[in-house]
Amino acid sequence: MSATTVLDWGLGLAQGMLVLAMALAAWRMLRGPRAQDRILGLDTFYLNGMLAIVVHGMRTGSGLYFEAALILGMIGFTATVALAKFLMQGEVIQ
């Protein structure tokens, strides 16, 4: 097998696994049972989405997806912190 075939199939497999992980996180997000479980699911969803983008960047061999992954990680962090603070106090900005 040539290097290109190995990379294409192997990274495709990794991407599929990450998408499955996103599906599991989404299931927890929809299912609950409590609000903190949903936020935890959202955080995991973001994390795995970010990793999937990194793997996609590897598959296309371009460094362009790096920025997208970094920004997605930052947005996920901010969203989770804001939601957790909202649950704690009922207000985001205080």
Binding site: V6, L47, M58, G61
Partner: protein
Amino acid sequence: MNEGALPAWAAWLVVLLAVSGAGFSLTGAFGLIRLKTFYERVHAPTLGATLGTALILCGSMLLLSLLEGRLVLRDALIGIFLTVTTPVTLLLLARTAAHRDRYEGNPGAPPEV
């Protein structure tokens, strides 16, 4: 994509790193639905945030370094950023859950410090 220059061993190594990293991440997400209580579940995504991310980023750095013919360390920044932010996220979530459980007097609530 000019992978003609990429040796076969490097391709296998990159794939091994990426797939094992994705495997750890998937195991973490699986734990999210398998473990019973919230406090157990918070441990699960850490799997993806530590070793899963580290392995995938190592694979990415190796691949891009070989393709571009120079050392590419950019992806390490994602790792550093994630290492700094994950504790904040999980700590806030755990404290929120503890606060709510104590307030409602749930049986699984953590003891007072």
